[in-house]
């Protein structure tokens, strides 16, 4: 299995600082990405150094199908490259792309080719383009869905057929204009495509499959791979921070609030068995479960809060408090935080209890 990172490239495209980009490169070492894509021209524009030997194996230069860019890649020490092309229907590969491929082979680079608009073509047309490639020893053919035309079922059908026609490993490079990139990539993986392009939180021009979603979907939904993911939320958040972004609180897999439960039914359920309302445990991605008290709370969550504080609530007190909580939550348009909840409790209770709040 091989995830191919597209996160760094978004930082390059946005002209992040050299320092931030290098930090992201380091952070990516903690994620199971086996290759990191970057456009060679952007690498130069962001003033990044020559590729050292430790990076050579992991980083892959994207080349826009010209000899000049192959030469630039060589100058920066790229060993792996992928040549991007966007052919027109019925025209085959343009001579410029062919020259770039010859130039790259001459430099003994590891060469892949990406048809960025592959989803515009039929299987036969792609097979025809493949036969058009003028050099042998192409290591991978990347199938691009530049315009986000695919759905998961179509993706799986195309990949099954294409695998029979193309003799090298396939790579799937989906985009997310309509929110289907993760689904399409997972479908490609399920039918045996082992190289998948993905970016943390789905970053990228027109978006990508989200790396963290694919990792966890593979592990939890398909039961494959037992990689330790306990730092996942933290690492992803650190990467986004370097690019001046914040992980949305409700972002699947890595958002701070995805294990926060408020509604009465859910809190009651989670206290009985977290599996009732959680697809996996918060610890698995390095997050924590929170019980939020607010408009949608039931008595169970309020009882639980006070149990934590070693205060016994009678059912009558619980109900009275719940009414107050709902009223206040609506008034202030948000949840009721712990100290405020405790104040409410004191106001409905004539004698103030002596217990202290533990947290």
């Amino acid at each position: 299995m091989m995830w191919i990172d597209q996160t760094l490239q978004e930082g390059l495209r946005k002209r992040s600082s050299r320092e931030n980009l290098i930090q992201v490169l380091q952070l990516l070492e903690s994620l199971p990405v086996r290759a990191i894509d970057c456009k060679v021209t952007d690498w130069e524009k962001c003033d990044l150094p020559r590729i050292n030997s430790s990076l050579k194996k992991r980083i892959r230069g994207r080349i826009n199908g010209t000899v000049e860019e192959v030469e630039l890649a060589y100058k920066f020490g790229f060993q792996k490259i992928i040549v991007d092309c966007e052919p027109h229907l019925g025209q085959g590969l343009v001579s410029q792309v062919c020259s770039a491929l010859f130039a790259a082979r001459k430099q003994r680079m590891n060469i892949g080719i990406c048809i960025e608009n592959a989803s515009q073509f039929s299987i036969d047309e792609i097979a025809f383009l493949w036969r058009d490639i003028p050099i042998d020893k192409i290591e991978t053919l990347a199938y691009g869905d530049k315009d986000s035309l695919l759905d998961p079922l179509k993706t799986s059908q195309i990949m099954i057929l294409l695998k029979q026609k193309i003799p090298v490993p396939l790579e799937f490079h989906g985009h997310n204009a309509y929110g289907l990139a993760t689904a399409n990539s997972l479908a490609a993986y399920q039918v045996g495509v082992k190289h998948i392009a993905a970016a943390v939180a789905g970053l990228g021009s027109n978006g990508h499959a989200a790396l963290e979603e694919l990792m966890m979907a593979r592990k939890r939904l398909l039961g494959e791979g037992m990689a330790d993911t306990s730092q996942l939320a933290l690492i992803c958040s650190q990467i986004l921070t370097r690019f001046g972004l914040t992980v949305p609180k409700a972002k699947s897999i890595i958002g701070q609030d995805i294990f926060a439960h408020e509604s009465g039914i859910h809190v009651d359920g989670v206290m009985k068995n977290p599996l009732l309302y959680e697809a996996f445990s918060p610890e698995e991605v390095g997050l924590v479960r929170q019980l939020v008290v607010g408009k949608h709370s039931g008595t169970a969550s309020i009882q639980a809060k006070f149990r934590d504080w070693n205060i016994h609530l009678s059912p009558e007190e619980g109900n009275a408090l719940l009414k107050q909580v709902r009223k206040l939550a609506v008034e202030q348009k948000k949840q009721v935080d712990d100290p405020v909840l405790f104040d409410l409790y004191r106001s409905i209770k004539s004698s103030v209890p002596s217990q202290n709040l533990s947290s």
């Binding site: 204009a177 997972l186 939904l221």
Partner: protein, 291 residues
């Protein structure tokens, strides 16, 4: 292939509001319901009246706004829930029961038979007030398919108008959805509404694949807000259904920017730059692609 039309049951005001720490004021709820109605959403799940007076006031506001959309109250199969909804003036009630053994045994601590009987009584109670009932099957994705169909059969016999298939913890993947719905749809006596959660980022895709396999309605929220990682997003499902699947949905996508601004302001959140359709990072103007 013949272009199919689907309908949206928007639950921004119910499941969307259940995203932790979120509260819509009564005015927010009215504004959002009005905007959904204007965009062409035909079903609006407005809230849970049994939650209390504040919620009931908001519900009455929406019900008296003269919207074209049908306004639905969400209920457990519990007498109090149904009575609260009826006394607000609702005529469309959604009644939800868990259908997985995990939920039935560990949450309710009851049996499948108990759930069936309870559902029956609840439907009859709602109907005794002249209400139109839809049934929700919570945690259907982790439940026994035959039991889901049993629930659907009973609901159909009693005259419920549709059944909701809920992937409560978002644990389905699109290829699995395809094979499940290929089998389920021909055997289900009622139109199926799908309610998918986004725990693995697959809610939109799971919804669309189910629709393509014959489900007739999609439960969505604006911007995908909802419990945990949220729900299928209205704007993404509608746009993809039209652009990617080449089908129809009578919702005006020109209203998406306004709707998303309205909801995000009310929940005091920003839209992530990389959120499809409504995020700022997307250069494709999807709306122009809809034929």
């Amino acid at each position: 292939m013949h272009a199919r039309t689907i309908e949206i049951v928007d639950t921004t005001l119910r499941d969307g509001e259940q995203s932790p720490g979120t509260v819509f004021s009564a005015q927010d709820k009215l504004n959002i319901a009005t905007a959904l109605d204007r965009a062409g959403v035909t079903w609006i799940e407005a809230g849970v009246p049994v939650m209390g007076e504040e919620e009931q006031e908001a519900m009455k506001l929406i019900l008296s706004a003269g919207l074209q959309a049908k306004i639905i109250a969400w209920n457990r199969a519990v007498e109090n829930d149904i009575l609260s909804s009826v006394s607000c003036g609702f005529s469309h009630l959604h009644i939800s029961v868990p259908v997985s053994d995990l939920h039935i045994e560990q949450k309710l601590k009851k049996s499948r038979e108990w759930v069936l009987e309870n559902l029956k009584q609840s439907i009859l109670l709602a109907q005794s007030f002249g209400c139109i009932v839809s049934v929700g099957a919570e945690d259907a994705s982790r439940g026994d398919r035959e039991y889901f169909l049993e629930i659907a059969d009973i609901a159909a016999e009693l005259g419920a108008v549709r059944i909701r298939y809920a992937d409560t913890v978002g644990c389905l993947n699109p290829l699995a959805v395809h094979s499940i719905f290929q089998e389920l749809i021909p055997r289900c006596p009622l139109p199926v509404e799908v309610h998918m959660h986004n725990d693995f980022g697959l809610a939109n895709a799971n919804t669309l694949v189910a629709l393509a396999a014959g489900a007739e309605l999609a439960s969505t929220t604006v911007g995908g807000i909802g419990e945990r990682a949220g729900n299928a997003a209205l704007e993404e499902v509608v746009t993809a259904w039209q652009v990617v699947y080449g089908n129809r949905c009578h919702i005006n996508s020109n209203d998406f920017p306004h709707l998303s601004r309205l909801v995000m302001q009310a929940v005091n959140k920003d839209v992530f730059d990389y959120k499809p359709i409504i995020g700022s990072a997307f250069t494709i103007d999807a709306r122009n692609k809809i034929a």
